[in-house]
């Protein structure tokens, strides 16, 4: 009986000692030991937490004009050889501005040019980004973002020059309303 009691006491003290030793180990080491087997099952660990976005249906006032025009002009722009259906959609998209036929023609040309410049800028950046990644570097997107916004600003300025102030006021009011249909990345709202 006394032997059993002694054994129990020894076992209890041993457990406490083992617990203290484990507790004193740095947490990184303990986690590292338990994480090792998981590596074989899940080789990639991704943080998929989405960045904050501005929901224009809730806070349209937080969406900057440059971002709203970027998205709107992209939606309104067509390629150089649009189908009849695409033309109809473009007219419907720009209907709120009440462009005259001449204004609509000018706007269409400006938007074709905008689309071409926008896509060229993306293509140029993507080629450099692929090269950077291939060499193990992280691409710097900031110069491209400046160029992108400059392309948008240039197209907006050309529209302002090509159509009447009244038409531009109507278009601007429409773009402001369209912010409610946009969800914009925080980066674009800063």
């Amino acid at each position: 009986m006394s032997i059993t009691k002694r054994s129990l006491t020894a076992a209890l003290l041993g457990s406490i000692a083992l617990f203290i030793v484990l507790a004193m180990l740095p947490s990184k080491i303990v986690q590292g030991r338990s994480a090792a087997p998981q590596q074989a099952v899940v080789p990639h660990i991704h943080d998929t937490t989405p960045a904050n976005m501005i929901d224009g249906s809730v806070h349209p006032e937080m969406i900057q004009d440059k971002d709203a025009y970027r998205l709107f002009l992209q939606a309104a722009a067509l390629g150089p050889y649009p189908s009849a259906e695409e033309r109809n959609r473009q007219r419907a998209t720009l209907a709120a501005a009440h462009f005259t036929d001449a204004e609509m023609e000018s706007a269409s040309s400006i938007l074709v040019e905008f689309k071409s410049q926008y896509e060229d800028a993306i293509q140029k950046y993507n080629t450099s980004a692929e090269a950077a990644l291939a060499s193990g570097a992280i691409p710097d997107i900031r110069p491209f973002l400046l160029e992108r916004d400059a392309v948008v600003q240039s197209a907006k300025q050309k529209l302002e020059d090509a159509v009447s102030p009244k038409s531009m006021v109507r278009l601007h009011a429409y773009v402001q309303g369209e912010k409610s249909r946009m969800k914009v990345a925080m980066e674009g709202a800063q």
């Binding site: 994480a35 990639h44 959609r89 249909r181 925080m186």
Partner: protein
Amino acid sequence: MKTRLLTLTFAALCSLLFSSNAAAQGCALTLTPHYSQYVSRSLDSSNNIYQHVELDGYADVGISASCHMSTAIHHPSIYNTIGSQGGSSSGPGACASCYVSYSTTVNFPGVPGIEYVVSADSSMVCTLAGTFWGVSSDGWIRIAVSNYLYGGTSFSVCTYNLYCTSGYASCGYPTIGVDAPCPSNYFVARYLVFRIGVNSTCFPVSIGNFSATPVPCS
């Protein structure tokens, strides 16, 4: 004896540390999305409803030494439907840090007053991470019609007053102005109504036409 004990202790420590490194050798990366979505809905004079979904942006990629991100490809994906028209489509793949600009359009011949289910969902899919970003704008859409009766002309602007002989107008102002000349007694204005649950929003589409006879409001 002392040396052996030290050697064993060092080996044990190395073993523990090596386990920690092994865990770190898994490809740990962070993707910070900077994508935007714009859903443009418009209506033409033939009552075709257009829904254009624009996905535009990029991801910031934080890479650990063991990640071979040059092999990762990001694809944009858009689910764009009005009623039975449209569906899902994926854009061309691009590198993880590449800028993406992708869009799809669907059109649907609408009938005023009838409501259609619409979906406008955008997502980004990584060949290594799976879907890592997505937003949606789903609801119901219908064409609303408001009938107006001519009231008079002043300073080259015709005044029309809301006038529903049947039905009720769910959108539109009580009075509108139309540039002269105004050849008919009636003016028919159309709107797109987007509904999520019980919340409806009228969107002016600037589509209207003169009419010799009144049309039902909806």
